[in-house]
Every structure is written in structure tokens, then in C-alpha cells.
Symmetry: none
Subunit: 456 residues, 2 copies
């Protein structure tokens, strides 16, 4: 370890420079005008893989953005670890709230600020730098690795899903490692034991055949924005209860240990949430502990409403059409397709007379529960204990990493969800950042993980 520690310490600035160069590429996967940038970010990853010693590295074309794939299989009968990450990033608006330009990575107070710093380029780069360190120090890797980095994680992830389902044998492995999660604090390492699934929908309400003037038609005209408000308020009440008949029926009760953990709240998430959000009280289902609400309960959120006049000042239009983007987060017991059917039905029942509604399923993904007993989870637990001086807590995350469910179901291997993000990393928000200390500790942890997997 001492040689490894020396290599990491001596190459810190180079590691950060390589990350910065990647962050400068605005690989926003949902934005057609950034298609070229997304490709550049993929090519940069291939280049990195080749430079660090993964001789077989390539771009895999898809119907969308390319996959980056690399493999090094010279460790004989040692285990094979499939490593996953994504090189695409979220859009940057509202851009005026950024303290530095989102694609000009800037270091302040030990953090690197940039879109994608934490989600997920920083976390992918630390894995690559761990591999580089092992190659440079030992001339080899302790285990076999396959690396798969996608460019559509923020845009539905259709291409990787298709690829995994089409070529499961090419991705054959003993365990899959997803480095796209976070830990509760820099002192509290975590392994993720559960993720929520998601359905992301667009609800479109149609009123009159054209926009109307409220002076002439106010009182007799259907107003799609008003109808949407009614629909949304009927789908979820002010106390956070979702009114979709059948939704809660298939929800299994969590086991005693998890329940006790959520109620005890040893990580003081109640206070943490209040502070991170800058609010005086939490919202949602007050009869459940905050940690359970944010990680293991179904949620329904409105992400955007489009329709009518949204400029400065006043225009008295009654729009012909209005749309809302609405998602549900789903504990692993709830399957996305079944929930979409229930949701669509509930929207139709909640729609007032006089308007017509359409419900589109933009994308969905399944949640997953991970056993802490697998070999890879034990190795990760030991590696984290070694680097952080304390054993990791087992947590569910409220977000959705549909790829985890795919690895679980299609490849049928244990999944390791270990990441080094922090709660205040501003994912999907202005001023996204990544802690450099976490970046370096991540490199240390991953070198250790691979070594422990080899010796077990």
C-alpha cells in the first residue's frame, strides 16, 4: 500500500487535470446541439482507458450516444469485475445561478465545481485513476475488469439497456460495480443496499382548438393550466399522500432492522435535510421518518409545467394546451410498467370535464435491493473501513439507477453500489461540485477493493 499511496500522492494534480479536461466537454445528452460534445466526451474516455493500460478500449455505436467499452482480462482465474459509470451530464439551467461557468471547472475550498463533477465524471475518473495506479505500481491488475461507460444516463439510458439485453455474455462477470452514489458525510462511508425505480411521464391537457383571450372567453373556456393544477392536486395531497388507486397495495413492509434504523436516524438526516434545503420544516408524509420517506417510500413530483404566457409582464391568454412533467419514485416492490398503468388511469379519473388528457411514458426504470452478504460487498466493506477508519453504514438511496436492476436481473450478478459523492454536491442543480478529498479517498478505496477481491 505504501507504494500505491506514494503514487496517488505524487499524481494528485495530474489526476485533477485529467478530470478537468473531461469536465470541460459539455456532454449534455438531452440536448441535440451538444451531440458532438457528447461524442468528444466518449472519445476522451476511450483515450484515458488506452493511456492507463486497458489496451482493448473502443466506442460502441448505438442508435443514440455511443457506449465506451474497455476490458482487461489477463488475471487468469481471478474474479471479473464489471465497472459502470456515465460520461453524460445534466443541462445547466438556470445558468445565472452558477458561480463559475458550468464547463470551466474551478477549485474552491477543496471542491471542484463543474457540471458533471460528481454526477458522474468525477466518480468514473477516480475508478480509472485507481486502475492507473495499480498498473503503474504493479505493472498489472489484481483481477479482470470490464468497463462500460454510457452517454445516456441523464436521457433515459435506452442504448445501454438494449446492449446489455442483446450481449449479456460479452458483459459476463462475477460482480458489477456502479460508482454513481454518495455517502452521508466525509466521515461516514456507505454501501447502498437499495434504490428506487422511476417512471417519468408527461401529462398533456388540451382545451380549446386555439389560444383564447380571457376577456372574451373567461367563464366558458376550458383552461388546461387550471385543469392540470386540479389533476396534480388530486394525485398528491398537501400531506404527501399519493392518490393513485392500487399504488400502495404491492408495497412490502420493510424489515425490522431497516425500520429501526430509519426511526433512530443515527445519521441525523432530519437535521441534515433541513439544513441542506434551508427550510424550517420537512414536507411529505409526516407519519414516516424522513430517511424512509426519502429512500424507501413512493413519491410523486412535478418537475415542470409548460403552457400559456411565461414572459415578463402580463398577457391574458387562456392556452389551448398545457403540459406537466411528473415522475414517481418507486421502491423495488413496485414495477414501473404496472405503476404507469395505474398512474395513467388515475390521471384520467382526476381530469375535470371539458378538457382532454394524454399521458406519455417518457421512460421508466426498476428499483433494486442488494444483499450486503455478497463477496464484492464484503470486499468493499473492508476497503472502505481501511480508508475511512470506520465500517460503512448500509443505506438505501432514493434515486434511481436503473442499470443496477438490469445488472441484477439480466447479468444475474451481485451489484456493488459504492460512491464518494456527498449530500451537498448539488447534483442536477447549479454549482454542482465534487470533494477532492473524496476523489482521492475514492481512488484509495478502489485500489484496495480490487486487491481484496483478488485475495478472497
Amino acid at each position: 500500500m505504501s507504494q500505491i499511496e506514494t503514487y496517488i500522492t505524487e499524481h494528485q494534480s495530474q489526476f485533477v487535470e485529467d478530470l478537468k479536461a473531461w469536465l470541460r466537454i459539455p456532454s449534455i445528452s438531452t440536448s441535440p446541439e451538444h451531440t458532438g460534445d457528447v461524442l468528444r466526451a466518449a472519445e476522451y474516455a476511450v483515450e484515458q482507458l488506452k493511456r492507463l493500460g486497458i489496451s482493448h478500449a473502443e466506442l460502441i455505436k448505438t442508435q443514440g450516444h455511443p457506449l465506451v467499452y474497455g476490458e482487461w482480462l489477463e488475471a487468469g482465474d481471478k474474479p471479473t469485475l464489471l465497472i459502470y459509470g456515465h460520461y453524460d451530464v445534466q443541462p445547466v439551467d438556470p445558468i445565472e445561478l452558477w458561480e463559475n461557468a458550468p464547463f470551466e471547472p474551478t477549485i474552491r475550498n477543496g471542491n471542484i465545481y463543474s457540471r458533471g463533477a460528481a454526477d458522474d465524471k468525477g466518480q468514473v475518473m477516480l475508478v480509472l485513476k485507481a486502475l492507473e495506479t495499480l498498473f503503474q505500481v504493479n505493472g498489472t491488475l489484481p483481477i479482470n475488469v470490464k468497463i462500460l461507460i454510457e452517454g445516456e444516463e441523464e436521457a433515459g439510458g435506452e442504448s445501454i439497456e438494449k446492449y446489455i439485453k442483446t450481449y449479456p455474455e460479452r458483459l459476463g462477470c462475477d460482480a458489477a460495480f456502479i460508482c454513481d452514489t454518495h455517502m452521508p458525510s466525509p466521515e461516514t462511508p456507505a454501501l447502498i443496499t437499495g434504490l428506487r425505480g422511476i417512471i417519468y411521464t408527461e401529462v398533456t391537457v388540451h382545451g380549446a382548438k386555439q389560444d383564447l383571450h380571457s376577456g372574451t372567453y373567461g367563464g366558458v373556456a376550458p383552461n388546461p393550466l387550471h385543469a392540470l393544477s386540479i389533476i396534480i392536486s388530486r394525485l398528491k395531497d398537501a400531506d404527501g399522500h399519493i392518490h393513485i388507486p392500487g399504488l400502495y397495495d404491492k408495497l412490502r413492509k420493510p424489515d425490522h432492522e431497516e425500520k429501526e434504523f430509519w426511526h433512530r436516524d443515527p445519521l441525523h438526516m432530519n437535521e441534515a435535510y433541513l439544513k441542506e434545503m434551508g427550510v424550517s420544516q420537512l414536507s411529505g408524509e409526516l407519519e414516516y421518518p424522513p430517511l424512509e420517506r426519502a429512500s424507501a417510500r413512493p413519491t410523486l413530483e412535478v418537475h415542470g409545467i409548460v403552457g400559456g404566457f411565461t414572459g415578463e409582464g402580463a398577457k391574458t391568454v387562456i392556452p389551448a394546451v398545457a403540459k406537466a412533467k411528473i415522475s414517481l419514485r418507486l421502491p423495488p416492490d413496485l414495477k414501473s410498467k404496472e405503476v404507469f398503468t395505474l398512474f395513467e388511469q388515475a390521471v384520467k379519473e382526476a381530469t375535470p370535464a371539458g378538457v382532454r388528457v394524454e399521458v406519455a411514458n417518457l421512460h421508466g426504470g426498476e428499483g433494486v435491493l442488494v444483499s450486503p452478504e455478497s463477496q464484492v460487498m464484503r470486499a468493499a466493506s473492508e476497503a472502505l473501513s481501511e480508508v475511512y477508519g470506520t465500517a460503512p453504514v448500509h443505506l438505501r438511496e432514493g434515486g434511481s439507477v436503473p442499470i443496477a436492476a438490469l445488472f441484477d436481473e439480466v447479468l444475474n450478478v451481485p451489484v456493488l453500489l459504492m460512491g464518494f459523492g456527498l449530500p451537498d454536491d448539488n447534483l442536477h442543480a447549479p454549482n454542482e461540485k465534487y470533494s477532492l478529498q473524496q476523489f482521492f479517498n475514492g481512488i484509495r478505496t478502489v485500489t484496495s477493493l480490487l486487491q481484496k477481491m483478488a485475495s478472497n
Copy 2:
């Protein structure tokens, strides 16, 4: 009348050419790059006034676009009529839906198509051509006239409001005539007996201190878009009832005659609304007749909601802030300031726990009720009967013409709201048009009106 009719018939093409020349000037008052065009349209009006015989005509400078003013006061002790119109027009987007270029007036099927054709250049021009006809045939006018044409009607109308309040004595008159309304069909002349007032507000809901990721915070985060939906659904229910305590208290019951008219619906507005909007049923308070709902009941409409992610595809953001533009149309008994206070209170009471709300009053204007018994209304009724062969119906319009309330309150004179637009004139929309038959009938009606005012 025969000489007048001869003059009108012989000069039809010149009248239309003079209107076309005015319509070619793109006097869009809300658009800074058209400031020069707005001025040119004002200068054209001054030129027209001088040419037709109004020797005193001038531009009045304001902090915004100029007022056009003219007066001819040589009719001794005959009444003085103040004539109002506006020379500015709405923007033209979406321009791709126009069949001819919006500022290249084109005649098709007896209509002149152009932005401003009906709102309001065509209606102002017919008044000017009526004055010209009287001057040319009689060498004089039968009554005194003052003419005031503004250039900010589509942009808030602040300058004219200030001018009227500052110089009420200059505008002293016996009656005010606003030529900016329409009639139900070419066979059904109308006099407007009521207009609704308006408050236009912006409701802003604040949640967390920054945008949040629904995976991490869904279940504990306040969602301003969800809160706005709840607020809006609580302010107005699916049956069109507004839940603002006190709002309906000051609403006077309409008199028996109006009630009977609305119920009888002799103009078949029920069917007309269905057809114009392309819907299978009307929305709103079903216990009131459509005509009453659209012209004499208070309404609450959402015109736009801003917040969160509104692009293509999916983004799982919980926005920190969301805004809604909401207006109320107010029957004349309800005063805009008082209603804003009630509205603000109701919004606060409707706001769910966990978010903070602000309510801004963007602008307001009063409604007006006009007595059909005034001398000018009687003269107008006779003039319309003469030209159209049938007595005018008395209608309220649901829109807001704040200048009418100003003339009523500040000048304290009877207001005549008589216009020659038609329901399918596409005001504020692509392919705005004005019927040439209505244009010529308008000239005939106004010459008759002035003569009748002189002899009463």
C-alpha cells in the same frame, strides 16, 4: 342623407387606400425596435386629421408613445363628443400562421386582412372618414368634437391615464365615444352596456433554497410546483367556483331584463362559443347561462406557470421557485384594489405548509356599467337602427377597456361603447381582419350619430 350616401359610395376606394397606408406601418407598441414605426403611425393620424378639416391637430409627447389629439369646436352650443381610439397594434407572432404578410393589407372575400385592421385602426379610420364625409358634404360638423388616439393600448396604456388625470378640463365634453368593440354578427348591431375590470397578479412560491434532485429529496422536499397546483385548485374548483372569501359578497344581482336576456340567449352564444372554441361542452359555472358567465361573472384564470424543467425530455428537478400568472375579471361592482386584497389573503390561506408565498399586483383596471338612457346612447341606438334596419342589442363585454372607466370616473360623462368589429376578426391572433361592409356601415352610422346628437 342622400348626399352623404353619395359621398361615401363615391369615395369607398379612397377610404380603403387611406386605411391600407396606415395598416402598412407596423406600430407594435410593446416592441422597442418598432418605436419609430409607432411614431410614424401617430404622425399619419395627425396628417389625416388635418386633411379632413380638423385644423387643430397635434402630437402630444408622453414618457411612452405620443398621443394624437385633435379638436374642432366651432359648433357653438352644440354638444361636444370626445372620440377615443388607438393606433398601436399587437405583435404578430406566430407569423408563420398568417396567410398574407401582416403589414401588407390584402383584401379577400370582402375583408381586409392585416394586423390592426379591426383592433383598432379600421375602427378609428371609419370615424375619421365619417368626419371627412360631413365636412365635405356640409362644409362643417354638426357638433363639437375632440379626438384622442393613443399608442399604448396594447402596452398598458399608462400615458393616456396620466394625461386624462392631469388635464381633465382639456378633455371636457358631454359624452365620450370609444370605437373599439364588436357586434355579434353583421345583422345584429350592438351597444355595449358593461365591461369587466381586471386584476393581473403573479404568485411566487418558494421552497428549498436551491433546486433539488427528486431522487435524493423526493419525500421530504417542498415542491413549489405542487404547492402552486394546490393553491390554484383551492382558489377555483373544477366547477368554476372561485373560493376567495368575500369575493361574491359585493356582487350585485343583475336586473331582471339582463337575466332574462342571458337565459333566453337570443344570439345563440352557447352554440357560438362551442364552435369558436372547438369543444364539445363549455366549462365554468354551469348554473349560470354562458353569456352571463363570459361577460358578467367574476372569473379567475391561470395564464402561465413558470418553474422547473420545461425542455424536451426528462429532468428530475424539484424547483426552488415556481410562479403563476393569474388574473381575475371583475364585474363593475368589484373594485380591483379591494379584490387584490381578498385574493392575496386567499392565496396565503390556500398555501400548504412548508413553502413561502408572495403575491404581486402587476396591474388592475376597473369595469364599468353604462346606462342605455344617456343622450349619446339614444342617438347611437337611432343611428344603428337606421343603418342596420334593426335596433341594437344591449350587451356586456367580458373584456376590460380601462379607458371606459377612466372617462366615466375622471371626466364624469356618459360613455358610448359602439364598434363594428365581428367575433371572427382574429384580434390578437394571426389573420386579423376587418369587414369592409362593416367599415362602410360604420362610416354611415357615425355620420348619423353626430347629426342626431346635434338635433336632440
